[in-house]
């Protein structure tokens, strides 16, 4: 019937986020291979574009996929600013876009569209969950610290919402200019203010450095450090002892011990000789969502409404646990509280069940 399905992978293949891009692609390919390399009977042809995590080049890069390669679907990306530009282009061209990581609230907020989906999370979500956890633990005064950029602001806002709803109070928001990693001054501020808890939003090299500096300053003994899972995901090896015992919230964890997760992990490990992480799961689920939509329209992507409808109605059987998508196309999912033990983010319990992003600003 139809020809190959062209899937555009617009992910970071160079720069800081390269590892994430690779994990997402691997996860995506894993599920496609599980389905025999075909979605709704159509073979897949991949087109890769390195987005360099540079929003300034995002429109050009996404246009390569849309206009040059005429892809049917775009998967991407990690960086929020880039994802925003992609969402804009996807909205204008009508190409299906599945965001496998970037958490910018706006993607499923004001920028939401019938053809834009997210298989990961919104920045608001894990942060809100952490806020609730912190409040439940009886913390009263918290400080937040993050890079000064949109993702950080959104995460901090989510934490504040959850924490203050539970009766806590955020006494001060600290920020470091992006991507500066010199934290001593702010650690000193934290030590001087003596809050009950600190919420931090960092990722990658910054997360490693922050957690290590926090421990080196001796603060981890007295003031618990909370954060969304990115603070300790994929970085534990580098963080070493400094991260031990830290609590984070995320929609994925080590030691879920569900059949679904175990089979995913084994398959991933065998195929790529690597341990999967949350990014791999998000990539994997992007493929699942695409498959569901494709099956519903029998491979005919021009039926936009049915495609979206199928995904909206579906329960996606993710390694993270089943989830659905909200009206604004963001996952409605459980958030786990996890604790760092050794080199794993061990599941403690479910922090918030079926948490849905408010999708503020979305008119779907």
């Amino acid at each position: 019937q139809q020809g190959k399905l062209k899937v555009g992978l617009m992910l970071p293949y160079s720069g800081t986020y390269t590892a994430l891009g690779v994990a997402i692609e691997n996860g995506f390919r894993l599920h496609v291979d599980e389905l025999g390399g075909k979605l709704a009977g159509r073979e897949i042809e991949y087109v890769k574009v390195d987005d360099e995590s540079d929003p300034a080049k995002a429109t050009d890069n996404v246009n390569k996929l849309i206009k040059r390669d005429n892809v049917d679907v775009i998967i991407g990306t990690v960086h929020s600013g880039v994802a925003m530009a992609m969402a804009k282009a996807a909205k204008e061209s009508g190409t299906v876009l599945i965001v496998p990581n970037a958490g910018a609230d706006a993607v499923t907020g004001p920028m939401c569209a019938p053809n834009i989906f997210r298989s990961s999370f919104s920045n608001w979500q894990p942060a809100f969950a952490m806020g609730e956890v912190a409040a439940k633990q009886g913390k009263k005064r918290a400080m937040t610290i993050t890079w000064k950029y949109a993702a950080g602001d959104e995460s901090v806002a989510g934490f504040k919402e959850g924490f203050e709803k539970g009766g806590g109070k955020v006494i001060k928001d600290l920020t470091v200019p992006f991507p500066n990693v010199e934290f001593q001054a702010l650690l000193t501020e934290i030590a001087a203010a003596k809050p009950d808890a600190v919420y931090a939003f960092y990722a990658g090299g910054g997360a490693v450095k922050f957690v290590k500096d926090y421990a080196a300053a001796g603060l981890n003994k007295t003031i618990p450090l909370y954060g969304p899972g990115f603070l300790t995901d994929g970085t534990l090896d580098a963080q070493g002892d400094a991260a031990q015992g830290m609590l984070t919230t995320l929609h994925y964890a080590d030691g879920l011990n569900t059949a679904r997760d175990t089979s995913f992990r084994t398959a991933y490990a065998t195929k790529f000789k690597l341990q999967p992480d949350v990014y791999a799961v998000q990539g994997y689920d992007a493929a699942q969502m695409l498959a569901i939509g494709m099956n519903a329209v029998k491979g005919d992507l021009s039926k936009k409404a049915e495609f979206a409808g199928a995904i909206e109605k579906a329960k996606i059987d993710s390694p993270r646990g089943p989830f659905t998508v909200s009206k604004s196309h963001n996952p409605v999912q459980d958030f786990y509280l996890r604790k760092v033990e050794g080199k794993e983010n061990k599941l403690v319990n479910v922090a918030v069940k079926g948490l849905s992003d408010p999708g503020r600003g979305c008119k779907l």
Partner: protein
């Protein structure tokens, strides 16, 4: 004869582009639009670097400001080109006036760094505060329009950008051959002597700086109208650096060099990162692009434009 040929060559290129415009696939025309915008941007920097000897590492600031002005000025209802274009160029020129007035006190590497500093300040204003939507940027609801020219239309976009490029090139070509341009060249070579001869050097440099800023603002206007989104990265230093690389690659001191550099740099990168052309090597485009650039520097001391003189019989000195 030779002169005539060299003068009409750019015009011929523009004509060919104009004729081919309607025949191009959306991607090709989009790509050409991108290269043309970059060419305008590069030309505006060429006025500073190649013609006046002022190496700026903050030129992206004017580009970004032009782009932001366009988006912020257009509001929810969209705006007219006739107001947004002057707004974009005006904002960029105004910032260039401030930056130029202050930074022209310094010279050489210090000038490079002061311009960088001012660009970074502008960058952080957009990145760290809410004026422009923060680090993720803002988008434009409706693209600028003027009468029947709607920049949402890809042909309108193509011809508008082409016209802007021709305008920029023509303007700079005029400046180059004029007394103003000769004075700038003199300043590049020997500022002290220019002052002794009676040229108000500071004024000349400032004028060049502001014109370059306004033209970069023009490029910014075009890029915002094309993309419909802007973000702080437009102002980032590596963007300034990249356009500088383009004009060096093309060959300093020639308008054509700036355009050739923009074309070559973009094409090269496009080529090396496209699987269809280089296969799995595309994953390592950084490596191949890096090697290509190193090879260019090693083999072409005068930039790509130098190839011509290299193969002409008596060019080498």
């Amino acid at each position: 004869m030779k002169n005539l040929l060299s003068n009409s060559l750019p015009l011929a290129c523009a004509l060919i582009l104009a004729l081919l415009g309607p025949m191009m696939s959306p991607y090709v025309s989009d790509f050409i639009v991108k290269v043309m915008i970059l060419s305008i941007f590069a030309l505006s920097l060429e006025l500073l670097v190649g013609m006046t000897g002022l190496v700026s590492l903050g030129h992206a600031a004017f580009y970004g400001i032009g782009a932001y002005a366009t988006v912020l000025g257009s509001g929810k209802e969209g705006g007219s080109i006739s107001t947004l274009l002057p707004l974009a160029m005006g904002c960029a020129a105004a910032y260039a006036l401030v930056v130029g007035a202050l930074s022209l006190r310094t010279r050489g590497v210090y000038f490079i760094m002061v311009t960088l500093a001012f660009a970074q300040m502008a960058f952080f204003v957009f990145h760290d505060t809410k004026v422009g939507g923060g680090s993720d940027g803002v988008y434009m609801y409706i693209r600028p329009v003027l009468g029947s020219i709607d920049l949402d239309n890809r042909y309108a976009q193509f011809y508008a950008v082409l016209a802007a490029l021709v305008f920029t090139y023509g303007l700079l070509a005029l400046i180059r051959r004029s007394r103003f341009g000769a004075a700038l060249a003199g300043i590049r070579v020997n500022e002290q002597r220019m002052r002794a001869a009676g040229f108000p050097v500071y004024g000349y440099k400032l004028a060049a700086f502001v014109i370059a800023g306004a033209l970069a603002g023009l490029a910014g206007f075009l890029v915002a109208s094309r993309d419909g989104v802007v973000n702080p990265e437009l102002l980032a230093w590596h963007n300034s650096g990249e356009v500088l690389l383009m004009i060096i690659l093309g060959g300093l001191g020639h308008l054509r060099g700036a355009v050739i550099g923009a074309v070559a740099f973009t094409l090269l990168k496009e080529f090396l990162s496209t699987q269809a052309f280089v296969g799995p090597l595309a994953d390592h485009w950084q490596l191949t692009l890096g090697i290509a650039i190193i090879a260019f520097v090693a083999l072409l001391p005068k930039g790509i434009i130098g190839i011509a003189s290299r193969f002409s019989p008596r060019g080498a000195t």
